[in-house]
Amino acid sequence: MVEFSGDEAQVLARIVDTLPAFPASVQAILELTGDINIDPRKLIEVIEHDPVLTLKILRLVNSAAFGLRQRMSSIKQAFVYVGINTVKNLAISVAAMGTMPHTNMGSCRMELFLEHCVTTAAVARLFARHRGVTESDLSDYFVAGLLHDIGMIILARWQNDSYATLLEQARSQQLPIVLLERQYLKYDHPQIASLVLSRWQLPEQIVTAVATHHSPLERQLTQLDMVLFVANQVSKLLMSEAGHPFSKIEALPEPMQAWLGCELSEVPALLGKLEAEIEVTRQFLQ
């Protein structure tokens, strides 16, 4: 794990603090809601123990969109009035997607960045399922995919203009942004991401997979490392708009290629309902 000096650590901590929290309850909700036979009482318990999540869900249920005559003042009441399914979907949406920022990074439009994150998350989850990962573990793959590039957001806020220049250079020269970060900045975005995800107390396997998603051979590869790396490249293949700063596809290291056993371009066909998965995830971000 990368070490930061005192001043840098303080600056980074301040930037990280401007991002929404990603509390443990989010992880619990993603795990619970991955099970179609979810025990609704457990879901109530998890939500009620997180006051921020509770408030956000109640604010949504009480919004004009729902148009309820009664004001909902508890999660249980929301369950009774709008149903378990709706509250469950709201919880997933509020929990996972509330963490993603919505401001542009230099000339790179945030919607492109989010499209890449959302597609990576969807591919990671479906590909993990294809590889036999159990349903209850799929949320780790989804979260790793969604947040793998979160370090870019921090770098853009920290380095501002110089990072915008790097993004432009990556786009025009078709270079992986991570190479330019390593050349011109002190830290690359996977290192910064690992700091953020550790502060959010995400499971260790997610933090390490994200920390090494551009340098997978630094350590013994886990299944999550490999799925994340593949999903990241497949997501770039699938992006609707070419020439964005993170479009350069990286070659699979030999052990990973052997594990994959096919070409990257063949992966989407293995995933079944990928479009639907991406669409649902994208909707949550709106």
């Binding site: 609704p40 009482r41 109530i44 949504l60 249920v61 919004s63 004009a64 969109a65 729902f66 148009g67 309820l68 005559r69 009664q70 508890s74 249980k76 009441q77 369950f79 009774v80 009035y81 709008v82 149903g83 378990i84 399914n85 709706t86 979907n89 709201l90 949406s93 909707q283 949550f284 709106q286």
Partner: protein, 295 residues
């Protein structure tokens, strides 16, 4: 008002000899006001023949479609509702928004007419179409009819509709499941949850008190419901019949028939219910496609 049941099936249309009596079309109810206006509740496959009739006969070229919710069996007839394609018709569509994804009724409905699902885009339709996102309890006046949406319980936001004309009242539940306590008796949380359910049911029971006609989602038998259908968003026959007396409802028509239910099976269920509730015979019946009620 004149009420015609145009579709009584749940989930998916079931054409064929085994649904000949009770009907195979999915949910659609036509209500014609004394003042002549036409209200249509839900656009299951039963709306298709109604649309053909509207085009081929003299009558108003303006109708009001109120959707209970946008699950397939309540909207699948809409792309085949011919008045949508004819200049000069005006269609007012009312229904709930999708609050989870914050999508308007128009957005949700137009999605089922995208090229990958249907050859004609929503934007290419020739009728004048207007959309209104509904709010719980907020009424609309359609000629001599007052239509009030009332939130019922389903896995998606779903409105029942109370339609009033003078002293006469008709209630359609849309899809509805009786809310169940998630906690066992004696478990922490049971009392609080039960109180919330009771308050919730009081809000539903209020508008149904003394209604002339209720058309009610009763997809399952009691045994089916409690053995494996809880949480699916539908009611069972007994739950509604037991409310006939309590709420002083004149007549309940049991609808949203399970697609697996044959005419003979529905006949058998009706006989059993008559045996179980002999004092209420005449106050409940199985909804049949084509039935007409004059209130």
């Amino acid at each position: 008002m004149k009420i015609t049941l145009r579709g009584t099936r749940g989930s998916i249309p079931v054409p064929g000899a085994e649904s000949y009596i009770y009907g195979g079309n999915t949910t659609c109810i036509e209500v014609v006001a004394q003042s002549g206006e036409r209200v249509i509740i839900d656009a299951g496959s039963g709306i298709r023949p109604l649309g053909n009739q509207m085009v081929n006969q003299e009558g108003p070229s303006h109708c009001h479609i109120f959707l209970t919710h946008t699950h397939w069996d309540h909207i699948q007839g809409l792309p085949f509702f011919v008045p949508l394609f004819i200049p000069g018709f005006t269609i007012d569509l009312f229904g709930p928004v999708d609050p989870v994804y914050n999508n308007s009724l128009r957005h949700v409905l137009s999605r089922q007419m995208e090229y990958c699902y249907f050859p004609v885009l929503e934007s290419e339709l020739k009728a004048k179409i207007r959309y209104t996102d509904l709010q719980d309890g907020v009424s609309y006046q359609i000629g001599s009819l007052t239509v009030q949406p009332i939130l019922t319980n389903h896995p998606v936001v779903n409105f029942g509709y109370l339609i009033t004309e003078g002293e006469r009242r008709f209630f359609f539940t849309g899809d509805h499941e009786p809310p169940q306590n998630l906690y066992q008796r004696g478990e922490e949380g049971y009392e609080e949850y039960q109180r919330l359910i009771d308050e919730r049911l009081a809000l539903l029971d209020g508008p149904m008190q003394g209604v002339d006609l209720v058309v009610a989602d009763s997809m399952f038998t009691r045994e089916e419901y409690f053995s494996k259908r809880m949480g699916w968003g539908h009611s069972y026959y007994d739950w509604w019949i037991e409310r006939v007396e309590r709420l002083n409802i004149e007549l309940i028509m049991l609808t949203h028939h399970d697609p697996e239910r044959t005419d003979r099976a529905l006949d058998a269920i009706f006989s059993e219910l008559q045996e179980s509730y002999p004092h209420l015979i005449g106050r409940f019946a199985i909804a049949t496609e084509g039935m007409v009620f004059e209130l």
